[in-house]
Amino acid sequence: MPEGDRKIRVLVAKPGLDGHDRGAKVIASAFRDAGFEVIYTGLHQTPEMIVSAAVQEDVDVVAMSVLSGAHMTLFPRVKELLTEAGADDILITGGGIISEDDMEALHGQGIGRLFGPGTPTGEAIAYIRDWAAERSGRANQASRSWEAP
């Protein structure tokens, strides 16, 4: 399979204690219809569970839905654990009730784009596709490194 045809694997996770998973389900279905392989882990995920699943499933992207207001802790924590696990090439993205300022601050910490309420699903899909295309462009120049940092 040529690099460009590689299936994009996305973990859709719902961290935290709130039970509002409609958004995560909508985005998981939209990703499936976009041709992604979506691993859906359901509600009440801890960052440790998310990272363990992301590593075992060798996903390209972790997409988290955070509505509880805990995004400033959850996103960086997942980033930190992924780096520890030697999988820091995974894109972290997501959505929820997150202010523009917080989005920018998180972006500064290596988190990808975050999407607010009302974003058309197509926007998130296009973002992930572009990211994957750019990455495979990079991979063609220098083969993806398997080495742990």
């Binding site: 399979m1 299936k7 990703f31 219809d33 691993i39 882990t41 440790e48 083969s143």
Partner: protein
């Protein structure tokens, strides 16, 4: 065994795989799953030291509780200190090519145990209940050193039976709604079980299904009336009805016999899981004592070789420059009636065989 030079990035991956890094296992699985360049060489190198994990397959209709039971059993194996790998297969959409892999939801309490590795696979067009490369992924997990490798098929109907070529022990999971006595007598899914489980047994109809399954099994074994009380006081067994019958599995006529158990579970409460665990170990012991384990492993090995040869043959045939030309030039002849698909296929085959002998 011949050594093949791996691509440098795959060599690095192999070293980390051998060092027991989970990230390396996960990435090796992707290499195989995507059939990326060099994946066969990687498998060859990784499988140099087969370890023969105990492989258990789980199959049954959608929503029967396969993932929940796998989860419960995995937990039980962990209590025995076995390291467990799980592959869970879910379908790929034929329309979008995408998939929603949701089996992990039922396995959340296993998520952070370092002795457990769970991988979801999408079928990617394969129709046998497993993904195209699931068997190879199981081999990788075996080589990585897991003592138990569990595989769960997609929700199946009657004829997705590839699991038999992937596991030592096949557990068929049904629910009370799965059907009646006639369903239980049908060919296909009902013939591949080493162990039957009627899950969700707290629902009405469970006892009926268990009875029907036992009856169907005894019919197969030629002992239909074993558990059935004499009808109108007539005991057929005393009337000279022959007891002998042909067993459904070759190799069972000699040595110990395996009577397929029909168990009842309620997976989400854990009821019956202990009995399932015991049945699995009894089947294991039977496989070893009867020599059937070796037979199944050999059959599996033969199947794997056939798969690899077929995959290569297809590649060689359709990548062959001459064949491409012959096909492209010949199709017009078929449409105009000068040739048939069979005459053109025949010339392509001779072309391939000729180029092979040169």
């Amino acid at each position: 065994m011949s050594t093949i030079e791996l691509k440098p990035e795959n060599q690095a991956l192999l070293e980390r795989f051998r060092a027991g890094k989970k990230v390396a296992l996960a990435r090796a699985i992707s290499l195989v799953e995507d059939e990326r360049p060099g994946f066969q060489d990687f498998l060859h190198a990784a499988l140099e030291t087969p370890r023969f994990s105990k492989r258990i397959g789980f199959t049954g209709p959608p929503g029967a509780g396969k993932s929940t039971l796998v989860s419960a059993l995995t937990r039980a194996f962990r209590d025995q200190d076995d390291e467990v790998a799980v592959v869970a297969v879910d379908p790929t959409s034929p329309y979008s090519g995408g998939a929603l892999l949701g089996d992990r939801i039922r396995m959340n309490d296993l998520a952070t145990d370092p002795g457990i590795f769970i991988r979801s696979m999408a079928t990617r067009g394969s129709l046998g209940g497993l993904a195209t490369t699931t068997k190879e992924v199981l081999d990788l997990m075996d080589a990585f050193g897991f003592q138990r490798v569990l595989v769960e098929t997609v929700g199946v109907g009657q004829t997705e039976l590839e699991i038999t070529g992937a596991a030592d022990t096949v557990v068929v999971i049904l629910v009370p709604e799965s059907g009646d006595a006639i369903q239980a007598m049908k060919a296909g899914l009902m013939e591949i079980a080493d162990i039957f489980v009627v899950n969700k047994s707290d629902r009405p109809g469970a006892d009926r299904l268990v009875k029907d399954l036992r009856l169907a099994l005894h019919l197969r074994e030629g002992e239909a009336l074993k558990d059935v009380p004499a009808h109108h006081g007539v005991d057929l067994k005393r009337m000279g009805v022959p007891e002998s019958g042909t067993s459904q599995d070759e190799g069972q006529s000699k040595g110990p016999e395996w009577e397929i158990p029909v168990l009842q579970t309620v997976a989400h409460s854990g009821e019956g899981v202990q009995e399932l665990l015991e049945a699995v170990s009894r089947h294991r012991a039977f496989l070893e004592e009867s020599g059937l384990l070796l037979e199944r492993r050999e059959a599996r090995a033969a199947g794997r070789v056939r798969d690899v040869v077929e995959r290569e043959l297809r590649r060689v045939a359709w990548d062959h420059a001459g064949v491409k030309g012959t096909l492209a030039e010949g199709v017009a002849g078929i449409v105009s009636g000068a040739e048939t698909p069979y005459s053109l296929a025949s010339s392509i085959l001779s072309e391939l065989l000729d180029s092979g002998t040169k």
